[in-house]
């Protein structure tokens, strides 16, 4: 009996410790302009994707003379509590990011029709009128990466290591191949899928698959595995092939082995969508691509940023020029990149 009490006591203490570390927030001074509250699905930490969401939120508040706050969530249970706390404060816009929050966003936007929400990088099937989704056209950036591979590949064989065989992720792999083949139609493409129990966070499995693709002769391999990408970059260093990253600039993870990245500029999306919501001009779903500056590659950034990026593409100014030209072509509609999600 005594033992059981002790065990219970320890459990209670551990639970309290976890709870205490779960809450947290950053606050800014009150102001006259619009107010925004950014709720993250996970702690921001060094997660650049979530950090960009905060940068965008802050920029809107600063430009319009408003106020902003961030509620960082740490686990499943405090996500809901944080969003509800944000709703209680009734700001002009509640900013939510990533697929992790899609169900909560759907449920809580329908339960609070007077509160305006924006959700970045995901959207429920039938969003309520007060929920505005901002999604990316990832295939456009992937196509630009393909153009780089088309110019750089010596073996004329490229490949992608992709987390799952689902239409959404073919936006990366298929468009990468299309971009390369637009430069040289003879380039062959191999796509493999990580699969298994934990496709988005199994670097060991991803590394073996990248090695298998490299053994077939591919010298440019696109890493579309989120948390598994580190294994693919290790394989790149080991076997000497070149790789491509996703979402943020991953070049510093393996300098000299990553050509460029398919960027999602969350800050641009948050900023533009939040302003539209505040103006009352936002539609239910807004898709951001190269034209809106919502997606991109490092090669499109300023020359100084490019020089500091540690990306291989910085050493190839001629290809950077070709990529910028192709971007203009896509923006103007001269080049149409098909969307595998709806094709």
């Amino acid at each position: 009996m005594k033992n059981r009490k002790m065990t219970l006591g320890i459990c209670a203490m551990l639970t309290l410790a976890l709870l205490a570390s779960a809450c947290g927030g950053e606050e800014e001074a009150e102001a006259d302009g619009p107010s925004l509250i950014y709720v993250t699905p996970n702690p921001i930490g060094v997660n650049k994707f979530l950090e960009l969401g905060q940068v965008g939120t802050q920029r809107v508040a600063d430009e319009l003379g408003g106020a902003w706050k961030t509620f960082e969530s740490t686990n499943d249970s405090d996500r809901r509590a944080n969003i509800e706390a944000a709703i209680d404060e009734a700001p002009d816009v509640v900013v939510l990011t990533t697929f992790t929050l899609v169900e909560l966003a759907d449920e809580l936007s329908k339960a609070n029709p007077d509160q305006k929400f924006i959700l970045i990088d995901a959207c429920p099937d039938e969003p309520a009128a007060n929920l505005h989704c901002g999604v990316f056209r990832e295939h456009e950036g992937a196509y630009l990466l393909g153009i780089m591979a088309g110019h750089l590949s010596q073996a004329k064989e490229i490949g992608s290591v992709v987390a799952l065989d689902i239409p959404f992720l073919h936006r990366w792999s298929d468009s990468f191949a299309l971009g390369a083949q637009s430069i040289d139609p003879s380039i062959t493409d191999t796509q493999v899928f990580i699969g298994g129990d934990n496709p988005f966070s199994d670097p060991a499995r991803a590394k073996e698959q990248a090695l298998a693709v490299a053994a077939r002769g591919a010298d440019h391999i696109f890493a579309v595995g989120a948390g598994s990408n580190g294994g693919i970059f290790e394989a790149a260093v080991q076997e000497g092939f070149l790789s491509y990253g996703v979402d943020v600039n991953q070049c510093p993870e393996a300098p000299g082995h990553i050509v460029d990245n398919n960027l999602k500029l969350v800050d641009v999306l948050v900023e533009q969508l939040a302003k539209q919501v505040i103006d009352g001009t936002a539609g239910p779903v807004v898709a951001f691509g190269l034209a809106e500056g919502g997606t991109g590659v490092v090669a499109l950034s300023s020359d100084e940023e490019l020089a500091d990026s540690q990306c291989v593409i910085a050493d190839h100014p001629d290809i950077v020029a070709a990529v910028r030209e192709a971007r203009d072509g896509i923006v103007a509609g001269d080049i149409v990149v098909p969307d595998p999600l709806f094709g």
Binding site: L18, N198, D202, P203, A212, S228
Partner: protein
């Protein structure tokens, strides 16, 4: 096409896939023999992978990392041993609880200790070096695959015959099996089941912890949340399919790993991922059913002898 698939890189890949599973399965096998159903291998492997990366990062040494990994594994195993042996709890319930604990705890400690989330990769993390054995590593085909490898790999391969001798040819092994099969008889003869069961569970913790270290410092040099990704469960199945016999267990692990590595290659040739994902399980099951008759006879011989 044949040469393109069956090259040394394939067997290299299969060996890397096999070692973590084999180390954990050998630990599970010892427990099975001592009469403890060890189902916490997945969590122990994950905790081992995390502690190994943490130890290697702090001490700048992969050796310290492996020791950290084994210590973390033994710590979780100690909880299992206390719960199942001393407190006579249900090993399945406790095992599942410990798996969940390891997943939560590593996910919680990662941002607390290293200020990152999801993946921890850092130049300070010292990976396990491949150490070539002079002479043996020169043998074509076999040499570069088996004799140019990490220390946990050599240990895993040496443990297969060593554990066979231990279980079937040593007095301690006999008593351990006695504790598992006839605990009352063993106790009557003055053999303490508690001591043997504690020893078996702690050994499995050390081995599965080392499996995690091989995964996070050998196969790759980084930690990713929940990176054991079901390998511990495969080890549990390998113990059952191999009937807790070293030859059966290593056979199940090797077949599984080879089928997995082959699957990666076949994917490149257009085989759908849904099939290559299932391939290791299907191949291992079929092979063991086919080999069962022969294997059962071998088992009777060794256990009788």
């Amino acid at each position: 096409m044949f040469e393109q698939i069956f090259d040394t890189a394939l067997f290299d890949s299969a060996t890397r896939a096999m070692i973590p599973i084999l180390l954990a399965a050998l630990g599970g096998m010892i427990c099975e023999r001592a009469g403890v159903f060890q189902i916490a291998l997945e969590g122990i492997m994950l905790a081992g992978a995390f502690a190994a990366v943490a130890g290697s990062y702090l001490a700048l040494s992969s050796g310290v990392g492996v020791i950290f990994g084994m210590a973390a594994g033994m710590l979780i195993a100690l909880a299992l041993a206390y719960g199942t042996v001393t407190r006579r709890g249900d090993s399945i319930v406790l095992g599942i609880a410990l798996n969940l604990l390891a997943m939560g705890l590593t996910g919680f400690l990662l941002p607390q200790l290293f200020d990152v989330r999801g993946v921890f990769q850092h130049p300070r993390i010292d990976g396990l070096d491949r150490i070539a054995i002079p002479g043996l590593s020169q043998i074509p085909w076999v040499g570069p695959v088996l004799f140019d490898n990490t220390i946990p790999t050599y240990l895993a391969l040496l443990l297969v015959p060593a554990l066979w001798v231990f279980l079937f040819r040593s007095p301690i092994g006999l008593r351990l099996r006695g504790v598992g099969e006839r605990p009352l008889a063993a106790e009557t003869l003055g053999v303490s089941p508690t001591v043997y069961k504690y020893g078996a569970v702690l050994a499995s913790g050390a081995l599965a912890g080392m499996a995690g270290a091989q995964l996070s410092l050998g196969n790759v040099v980084q930690f990713a949340e929940n990176m054991s990704s079901g390998r511990g469960w495969v080890a549990v199945v390998a113990v059952m399919l191999g009937r807790a016999h070293p030859v059966g267990v290593v056979g199940a692990c090797a077949l599984f790993a080879l089928a997995e590595a082959l699957g990666f290659r076949f994917q490149g040739n257009g085989l759908p991922v849904q099939i290559t994902d299932a391939l290791p399980f299907v191949v291992t099951l079929i092979a063991l059913v086919v080999a069962r008759k022969r294997f059962a006879r071998l088992l009777d011989l060794t256990t009788a002898g």
